[in-house]
């Protein structure tokens, strides 16, 4: 089973799959492939479809960047890709580990400094889309 490595909460994990027919040729299935992500207890965390990439007009390539957000916890996770083409049912399995550290808010992707008479503020948006506020920053020692 391929392993996508050790990850931390807040990372974007690349979900990629090549869909193929019984001859191994890359083909687009009738519907977008479905991704299921389950933890080691079998609890399903994510069920979603992933979109196609057509950078080079080639069929059968699908990818999506998934944020390891508050739905996830540390431990082994299994990714199951599945698709259908007529009577053919395709299925691929990946895995990854979430280790300690990180932050399920994700990456800081936008920031603003606000100087006010009563305090200084830092507003920042994390990759889960939420905007946060920090007050009068100082260096942690």
């Amino acid at each position: 089973m391929p392993h996508l490595g050790r990850r931390q909460l807040g990372e974007d994990i690349p979900l990629t799959v090549r869909t193929y027919d019984q001859f191994g040729r890359s083909v687009n299935p009738e519907d977008a492939p479905t991704v299921h992500i389950v933890d080691v207890t079998g609890h399903m965390i994510v069920e979603m479809k992933i979109p196609a990439i057509d950078e080079y007009n080639r069929p059968g390539f699908f990818a999506h960047q998934l944020l390891l957000d508050k739905r996830f916890t540390t431990g082994r996770h299994i990714i199951i890709y599945s698709w259908e083409m007529g009577d053919i049912r395709g299925r691929l399995v990946d895995s990854f580990d979430i280790v300690r550290g990180g932050n399920n808010w994700g990456r800081n992707q936008s920031i603003h400094w606000l100087n006010q008479p009563h305090a200084n503020f830092i507003f920042f948006q994390t990759s889960d889309g939420i905007v946060h506020k920090g007050r009068s920053p100082s260096i942690v020692t």
Partner: protein, 763 residues
Amino acid sequence: MPVPLPVRLRRPKNFFEFQNGITYLSDGLKGVQRWDSLQGAPESGGVVGPEGAPHLNGNGKGGISGDLYARVRFVDRLGYVSNVSDASNLYVTGSLVSFSDLTNTVPIVVVGASTGLKTGDIVFISGAKGNTAANGSWVIKVIDSGHFSLNFSAGNGIYTGGATVTAGVAELVYSDLPVPTDPKVVRRQILRTKAGDSNVYYIDIDTENLTALALASTNTDDELTVSLAVPMIGIDGEDNAIIKYGLPPDDKAVLVSHLGRMYAWASVIYQDGNAAAVNGSTRVDGIGTDWTFEMKNRVFYSKGSLDYYQILEVDEALQNLTLDKPYTGPTDPYLQYGIQPSAERLNVAFYSEAGLPEAWPPTNAFPIPFDPEAGEETAAMSFSSFMFFFYEYRTWRMTTQLDPARDGSVFRTHCRGSVNQRCWVIVDGTAFSMDRGGLYSMTVSGMDPVSTNIIDLFSGFSPYSINWNARRHFHCQHSPQEEIVRWFVALAGDDVPHHAIAYCYRTGAISIESYSRPVGSSCLGVLDGRPQTYLGLDAARVVASYTGTLDGPTIGTGTLRSKPSRAGHTWIEDDSAVFPAGRLIQQSLIGCPIVICEGRGRGQVRTITNIVDNRITVLRPWTERPNQNSVYQIGGIPWLWRSGWIRYPESDNEKPFNVEVIWQRTELPSTMSLRIFHDQATDPENWAQDRIARKNDSVGTKRGEPDIQILTDDKLGLVRQAIPQQRETTARGRRHISVELSGVTNGDVISVSQLTLEGVSAS
């Protein structure tokens, strides 16, 4: 060629601080938000106005008279108002009074009136011909059962008919009152006209009661005179209340202030994921999309088709759209599509009322001439007395004095643009920006490219080319102390910035900085009273950059540099190390980089995920596992300097060739490595002998390895190394030399003051 992954991360919001101290946030996908630093979270910008119209009626007999209308508007926590509601029904107060004449006397006497009026009541007279002075609202004095006079009146002619006389009411009752849906609304204002004027409204009721459907007032026209007058239409015919306080546009990603107005620019064209569309169906399902409710009324199209559809509904939870007409293209489960504002909103800058950042009449729109080669709208900048509108490949400059619609004019400035709103900065009267052609400086009169030397980075001909698919995450920051502007970019292989192109505008020098963690954002703030650059990293961290020599840990909090006793796939153990325990570790060490700076595994940088006892666990496995001779540095920042190619002289005459490095001695142990390259080679020269670096002889080499190891705590602060000479002056001899100096920081600034190559000449 590897297939690049699409960068479909959420879009960064653009922040903009207006002169009222409120920060506005926009991304063109969700509505504009605002934050005044007092609230716990941002709230929507603008005030949603009332739906529907109130109903107006009256009770009893009293001093309120005339033909009246009412409207309602909402007021939010900051005092910003909404548009007014539709006007109520026309309410003619009280009952009609029958009469036979309006005398041409002082005062005017109403003859033949037989009502239950009493002295002090108010009547309203309208439509009187001949004796037109009788028109208006009057307090009456009852003379007898058939006559009453109008106080302080004087006739101006013989009454010829047409008048209606209406008795006033004691109380006005407003019902069907709209209830606010906007959670930040704190007050409702009920406005009404006075007798004889349907344009100017006055605030009759100003209440914190947001839920009552009916309210009453006994204020007479005289009492309203002291309240705020709100004319619907101004003296120049401009709208003052009906559409003036429209909501900020939600389809523009950029807000900028210029001469007291807010401008909205940069239409968002959303193309993430696929759409599953079925021929003949009005429903489209999203795959890997993040469609928002605000996309309602925007335009949906499939790439390669000229058919456009208006979006009627968006289901955010199920990620599907309802189109205004059935999809006419072929059924496609992986449709490449786009969602954009309607055509009349493209290439148009919207702007607020002056001094009112949350009042956006839809008529305040300024078109920018269409240029098919301009690319997408990307950024806006207030610079000098002009407003600049950036596209990907073009920039337009607008000038205005009072109102762009009346006195604005626009000119194309140059054929350069900006990557996004966060990729330009103004420094001392010069703006610096980045587009796909590179970095450039601009003034109001022109532009100059400043990155010609590294143009391959932008054009795609370098192996380290910029990944333009990730351009929405690029940003720049000015560091005043260093006189440097840094553009944080994602190079090939990255989808978020791990590198910065640092441009020193004083010297013109450009360098590339590499960061061990993604730098998603940056801003200039203050720390201890001085300007300070803050960087936004992964794991929701904000760090103050360039405040020390280590990335995270503080000197004196435990072991930061040592040799591992043993190492595993994703860990090292150091029996001699003393790490701080408990929460302090969490704060100071977890998430920090650890660098193997000497020995086996040199150059590897990993992120610390845990420290238990004397074991440091890292996120990614070691590529080359360190051993007992390796040296690790927690929080170390790798640095590297490389000279250009320098030519040997044609005739060396057996001159010595030496390299000499002079640096400022460090207190804490650290090392530098010197490497020699010849004739465009990508691999450095290897040394032929073993030499151990030690105090007082701070140079070490290993046979078959390229590094000249230099101990930076050597008391001399100087090394001198002979360059091996086997050079032929004939055709195939060595011609060029290049020197590379690198190291990893410890607790001191490593300051190299001089590097000398003896026996060569610059060419």
